[in-house]
């Protein structure tokens, strides 16, 4: 047996294993940029501070397209990504492509979880989560009995308007009856609602494949031209996994008050699912960085005691399992995390990045273990409303305060709109110091 881990690691990422490079120069460029990031992560004196433009729609706005165009016309999204890289020559290629799916595919299945441009929100605006209650209180029991069965037969028809036939999806447990279970297992697939649902899935899948070839192909082209991709995997804190798209914001907060024991059981049960999601997505995408956006544990969203019961222990288990699998968790602490810093300073060993929107980074540096890499803070207010000189000054001062090791200069959020000259000023700030 080989000692090599089964999946990607920082070493395989830095070497560019498995990447089809355009030529030797592209490979050298890739490795130079990747080394900068790995050196920063390991406190090994990078040649300069790396910059990561955590972004969703910024490349689209940068290229002069609307979010609606990017989601409906893949060629325009492709052009956005290529233009972004040509104009800015980033240290890391952002994960934007995976966050912008085909709106046509969403339409075919009538996805209810978000409003997207052309489907409820304005053509010029990014998509927005609806955060409704997709799983009722009465469904907890079904969820506990068999989470997969719950998601297939109850959750899917609730969240996708054109997949209501999934309510008739036969239970796999029927097959334990042997030949007597086969007929009842097959029967629903012949019924009209199920046939329609399966056809919708086939059509949406075909569109997703087309999108993947075009957009996924563009990302491969960009990475092969010498730009390492920032993250490849994704998972969520178990509490957010339940709160964002299953129970919804209001309902999970009511669970915190009305049925804490049930909620705790649900959050605990989601830990192995969150771990599996992080490891699988990193392996599939051959990238050790696993993005973990944190939503409902920020200051104000629960008490310290609740954070230490319902949020942190489960998230910590996910972080620990990812680092044990040689992966690098990239935690994005949206909102403010000042009151959480003491709690989250109890971290497992291993490389990881903590990315903050609105938390004093110097306080973070003082509180979290020295081995943690810190990112974020540059505000959208600054990037949208000020002039490039102000952005340069702010960014360089931040670098001065944070030091060259274990720091990644980055906007505080997943960037959508901003003045291109300001974004360039931020990205050039470490080069021009």
């Amino acid at each position: 047996m080989s000692d090599e881990p089964a999946g990607p690691t920082l070493e395989t990422w830095q070497r560019g294993d498995g990447i089809d490079f355009a030529d030797e120069d592209a490979k050298a460029d890739y490795q130079r940029r990747a080394k900068r990031m790995v050196d920063a992560l390991r406190g090994a004196d990078p040649d300069r501070v790396p910059v990561n433009l955590l972004s969703t729609f910024y490349p689209v706005f940068h290229a002069g397209y609307t979010p609606e165009e990017a989601m409906y016309e893949g060629e325009k999204l492709r052009d956005s990504l290529l233009t972004f890289v040509d104009d800015l020559e980033p240290d890391l290629f952002p994960w934007a492509a995976s966050l912008i799916p085909s709106a046509t595919a969403l339409e075919i299945v009538d996805y209810q979880g978000f409003d997207w441009p052309g489907d409820g929100s304005s053509p010029e605006t990014v998509y927005q989560a609806r955060e409704r209650e997709y799983m009722g209180v009465e469904d907890y029991e079904a969820f506990f009995t068999d989470p997969s069965d719950f998601f297939i037969r109850q959750y899917l028809p609730e969240v996708f308007g054109e997949l209501d036939g999934m309510a008739h999806f036969p239970q796999f447990s029927n097959l334990t009856a042997g030949i007597a279970g086969v007929h009842p297992y097959l029967l629903p697939f012949g019924m009209p609602p199920m046939r329609e649902t399966l056809q919708n899935l086939l059509d949406a899948g075909e569109e997703a494949m087309r999108w993947q070839q075009l957009i996924g192909g563009t990302v491969e082209e960009i990475v092969g031209a010498g730009y390492p991709q920032s993250v490849g995997g994704i998972t969520l804190a178990p509490y957010d996994m339940l709160g964002d798209m299953v129970r919804g914001t209001h309902a999970i907060m009511m669970d915190l008050k009305r049925r804490p024991e049930t909620l705790l059981e649900a959050v605990d049960r989601l830990v192995p699912i969150a771990i599996e999601m992080g490891i699988t997505s990193a392996h599939v995408n051959n990238n050790p960085f696993v993005f973990i956006p944190l939503h409902k544990g920020a200051d104000g969203f629960m008490s310290g005691e609740e954070f230490e019961t319902f949020y942190w222990p489960q998230l910590r288990q996910v972080i620990e399992a990812l680092t044990e699998a040689d992966l690098v968790p990239w935690l994005f602490a949206e909102g403010r995390y000042t009151s959480r810093l003491e709690t989250i300073s109890d971290l497992p060993e291993g490389e990881m990045i903590w990315h903050f929107q609105d938390t004093d980074l110097e306080l973070v540096r003082e509180t979290l273990p020295e081995s943690v890499t810190i990112a974020g803070d540059v505000s959208t207010g600054l990037l949208n409303t000020r002039e490039p000189e102000a952005v340069t000054e702010y960014s360089q001062d931040l670098i001065e305060r944070m030091g060259r090791n274990r720091f990644v200069l980055s906007p505080g959020v997943g960037l959508d709109e901003a003045k291109p000259a300001n974004v360039k000023a931020m990205m050039d700030a470490p080069k021009n110091r």
Partner: protein, 222 residues
């Protein structure tokens, strides 16, 4: 029973508080007395949120409890409006559908005795103009979570200025008359300047404090 009821509300003891409200109404007590206690209990909830003893889930829970008791009271009486501290026109600006922050602001202002006209989410500038014309508020509160909200807020302020509903922005100080407050997770002093709002806050209790300060300034000037 009055003190116990206030305490049950303040401690968010849902079943007990609702049961006590029912008992008092069944016993023929004046619904106005129950309403007064409801306000007292919820004022304590607001104070505890302000003191960071309670958090957003507690406020939402309190909101659910208030709704249930208000339903009981409405069966018994026409709700009467008391003396109001001031009027606020509130909404999440155009192209933004986020409502949690906006709803918390509503709750906190309502608890503190303001009359709040809530226009909802994705509110275009012309709807703000109409509501301001109709309600003559002391404060206009614009909420937004997205970066797209920066421009929507700016357009809203411009529309209000063009309609002559707020004074032009004076960089040396506050506008006279109706003032504009902005709030949301990405709002900073830079955004306030860009939008030309009179002030900004990123959490609901601070928004209430700022509004009260503004009202005091107006009173002092009169």
């Amino acid at each position: 029973m009055s003190d116990e009821f206030v305490q049950a509300l303040a401690d968010l003891e849902e079943e007990r508080a609702i049961e006590m409200a029912k008992e008092r109404l069944d016993a023929g007590e004046d619904p106005m007395a129950v309403l007064d206690d409801l306000k007292k209990g919820m004022a304590i909830v607001g104070d505890r949120y302000d003191a960071e003893e309670y958090f957003i889930p507690d406020l939402m829970y309190a909101g659910d409890i208030i709704d249930q008791i208000s339903d009981l009271l409405q069966e018994e009486m026409e709700m009467e409006e008391g003396e109001k501290l001031g009027t606020i026109v509130l909404g999440t600006v155009k192209d933004d559908i986020h409502d949690i922050g906006k709803d918390l602001v509503f709750f906190m202002f309502d608890l503190n005795g303001f009359d709040v006209v809530d226009l909802g989410v994705d509110v275009p500038p012309e709807k703000f103009v109409e509501a301001v014309e109709e309600n003559d508020p002391d404060i206009i509160a614009l909420s937004g979570f997205l970066t797209a909200a920066f421009d929507s807020m700016k357009e809203t302020v411009e529309a209000l200025e063009e309609a002559g509903l707020v004074e032009p922005f004076n960089e040396d100080g506050l506008r006279d008359g109706t003032k504009i407050m902005i709030g949301g997770g990405q709002i900073t002093a830079d955004v306030r300047n860009y939008v030309r709002a009179d002030g900004f806050e990123t959490d609901a209790p601070s928004g209430v404090r700022l509004a009260k300060e503004w009202l005091k300034t107006v009173e002092a000037a009169q």
